[in-house]
Amino acid sequence: MTTVETAVGTTKTMVLNMGPQHPSTHGVLRVLLELDGENVVSAVPDIGYLHTGIEKSCEDKTYSQVITLTDRIDYLNPLGNNLVYCLAVEKLLGLEVPKRAQYIRVMLVELQRISSHLVWLGTHAIDMGAMSVLLYCFREREEILKIFERFSGQRMMTSYIRIGGVALQAPAGWRAQVKSFLEMMPARIDEYEALLTENRIWQGRLKGVGYLSPETLVAMSTTGPGLRAAGIAYDNRKSFPYSSYEEFDFDVPARTESDCYARYLVRVAEMRESLKIVRQAMDKITDEGPIRAEAPGIVPPQREKMKTEMEALIYHFKIFTEGFSPPPGEAFVAVESPRGELGCFIASDGSPKPLRVHFRSPSFINLQALPKMVEGQLIADTVASIGTIDIVLGEVDR
């Protein structure tokens, strides 16, 4: 029994359940709050309501079948999940991905980052009472989802990033669509800032709330915007570049105040940096070129070849019936998801199905710091703190 549960039934403090059904917990998160009036004496998160055994299911599927499961872990960052998993498998295989495919991956993952931050901003704002911002953010997110639909046929669970590259060739008309998005977006971000950044109520609700020192954050294994808002500019795209990020010119925004307001500023600045990266990626992607590595036995052959050449047909058949077997060993790859360090650990035993797939999910780990952020503050600040961590329960629970 937790310390909070022992307080149930006493008269000094009251224990309230926040969640698992609650609009401000952003998913099925239950937080047991021990309250003294409106002050939070202690808070204990209770998770697992969205646990669907994804990691166990991965062990029962071939390496390429796992990709569709990865979309659903952090459901606001499906391309990021695809990417980290595919990078880990490619590492196990020693597979080189063609540059053009890497640039497409970078462009789409950065668009995904913007769309994720838009959801974060919209929901965080509506938690604080700024209802219009939600609709404005979702309006821009629609444009990004339309881009994803053009590329992959899917708005969210794209499974577009595959082992060796990306699933399909870049569609006709993609450049014009991305360009018009890039032209529209900066002014929209200015709009959000005009509504929020200097707003007295916004500042009043967020400044000084949910403070954690940088030492505490590192000790609690927090990564992502929460850590960068405390002054530690740790970003996997810069520290351990992957998928050609070293070729892109962008900054890593950081602040030092380490409160909810600083995290807000960091994420808004990150949206602007992502726009820079998308523009550079768009310029780097040539109109023609490969989208997947040439790796017979691992990457399925082109459909035309499969229909005309015997060898290609046999490879296709073997890949989709037996699957491919990476050499035994382990690999851990981490990418920078909108929430922090998203890692994928794969252990291979030389069979077509992975022995173990584990996702180091930033939301799960960042959520540990919630009690420290929240104890001693008001319930209203709890709502701000949960929002500022930016959790996605699919990733917390897997």
Binding site: G48, H51, K91, V218, A331, E341, G343, R356, F364, L367
Partner: protein
């Protein structure tokens, strides 16, 4: 994919060996990643050394994972991913515990962030962590019986 990560991997092994030669039972280099296999009774001290030695400075515990190597003994292989943020380096420490005695020292005294990570391993694999302040299930309901991520637990579950 560039690998800045392990240019100095040998330096890490050297430092650990200099601190305690028995801490490094085996070094595995694969695909640019370095794994140091540490005997389980020395792992907490070795991890603490990795954190506190200024030449190593692995200040962030990124991940704690378990791999069930059933039917090979020792069965539960624990993998600890450490990151040195200032030195931009990653290292993996590995140890194993057996089926008969699936107990490991908790790293919570070294990194408070190990709390939920170890609870997850306890929940899904049944490995206990000595010295953990709050070792109970985290993802599964309290009433759940068994350790579902063990290899001998069926994917569809038990009825």
């Amino acid at each position: 994919m560039t690998q800045l990560a392990n240019a100095n991997a040998n330096a890490v092994v050297e430092q650990l060996r200099a601190w305690n030669p028995q801490a490094v039972a085996q070094v595995i280099e694969n695909r640019g990643e370095t794994t140091i296999v540490v005997p389980c009774e020395l792992l907490r001290a070795a991890a603490q050394h990795c954190k506190e030695n200024p030449a190593l400075n692995f200040n962030l515990l990124s991940d704690v994972t378990c791999v069930d190597r059933f039917p090979v003994e020792p069965r539960f292989e624990l993998n600890y991913q450490l990151v040195s943020i200032p030195r931009r380096e990653r290292i993996r420490l590995r140890t194993s515990v057996s089926t008969q005695h699936p107990v490991m020292d908790s790293l919570v005294p070294v990194w408070p962030g190990a709390n939920w990570l170890e609870r997850e391993v306890f929940d899904l694999f049944g490995v206990r962590f000595e010295g953990h302040p709050d070792l109970r299930r985290i993802l599964l309901p309290e009433s759940f019986e068994g350790a579902p991520l063990r290899r001998d637990f069926p994917v569809e579950g038990k009825r």
